[in-house]
Structure formats: C-alpha cells, structure tokens
Symmetry: C2
Subunit: 123 residues, 2 copies
Amino acid sequence: MSKSIRAILKKNKKFTVNGSIWIECNGERFFGPGPVQLLDLISDTGSINKAAKQMKMSYKKAWEIISSLNAEARQPFVVTQAGGNSGGGSVITDEAIAVIVWYKELRERFTALLEKETGKLNS
Amino acid sequence: MSKSIRAILKKNKKFTVNGSIWIECNGERFFGPGPVQLLDLISDTGSINKAAKQMKMSYKKAWEIISSLNAEARQPFVVTQAGGNSGGGSVITDEAIAVIVWYKELRERFTALLEKETGKLNS
C-alpha cells in the first residue's frame, strides 16, 4: 500500500510522517512539549518571568501552565522562593525532572515510529 | 521509571498518553485528521460547501485545504463537476481514497503505541 501512496504524491517533493505526543489528565491535555520547554527554561534561568519571555508567552499564561501541572501532581513541579539577597527565584523539583526525563524517552520511542513510517512511505 | 512516574501524579485521576500524527510535504503540514475529515464529508455530501459547513469552516478555508492537497498530488484529490441537472457537485478521487485508507491505517498503528504507553504509564 505505501508504495502506491508514494506514487500518488509528487515525485520531486519530500514527504515525512510527523506528529505530537502528550499526556492527558481526565481527558484534558496536561503535559507535553510546551510544559517541557517551559520547565527546562525555568531550570536554566531560575525565573518563571525569564522563561516566559524566552517562549514569547505572558507571565500569566506561564503561571497557568505551572498551576495546572502543580494541581495534578502529588508534589509541585515548580517551587518559588520569595525574597532573599538574590530576590528569590523559581526551581523545578525532582518530580518535574523525573516527568521531563520520562516524556523525552516517550518522545524518542514515538520518533522511532515516525522514522519507520517515513521510511515505509518513501520506500 | 514509569512506575515512579505514576507515583508522582495524583492517585485518583486518569492519565492517558494521546497524540496527533500527520504527513508533511517539504516540512509543511500536508495531510492529517483535518483533511481526512473534510474529504470524508465531501464524499458523503457531494459538496465542498456542505462539508465545510459541517466542519464549521468557511468555504474559502475548505478550498485552500483542497487546493493544497491537489498541489502535492500527481492527480487531484477532489474534482468538481460544473452545471448539469444536479447543479454539479464534488467527488473525491481514487487517489484521495487510497491516501485516506493509508492514513487511517497509520493512525491505527499510532493508536497501538498510545495504548501501550498508557498501559505502561498506569502499570
């Protein structure tokens, strides 16, 4: 079947199978590439505000994402320390790191499927 | 790892792995669930206009999707017959049907991965 599919599509163009994968909680999108990027940037910068800016996202939107993550986890994913000499800052927790690592491994397994399907499409 | 991930997430909520899969042409999204639904509805109704309405989409938007599909295929996916007693009408071609069938099989293989990953997450 895939051989005939490629014959339907234009010869001189590159066709690839791509996709997105995420976790839902009670049927609502909960964790995926957006939260992973936001958490990675909070980890890098120590700041929700800086992370939001790098994603061209409002602080309000970033906080909504974090709040929703914190609501579905037994322990929060992001902890904000108020005050101090450094003016506080935000850190991601070990639980957040574990879920990020798990998600990236899931994404790798999905990427393997995408590459296999792209190969079949073009074979 | 997945056992500890489930232990991080709240006990009384249902977590599932979900996702979307599509075909890109030269890096641009080309074929996926939206075009499949539109083509299926054109096939059911014989009308781009009726199909667009059922998808709560403008005729212009529907036509843009069809035009982009026709541009990447060696033969068009949708053919419109002008005039006649029935006032014309649109049909999807054998090539469109073959790509729809192939896409639905691809989605089934992806669904198998999603179900396997959901099982692992909850195990």
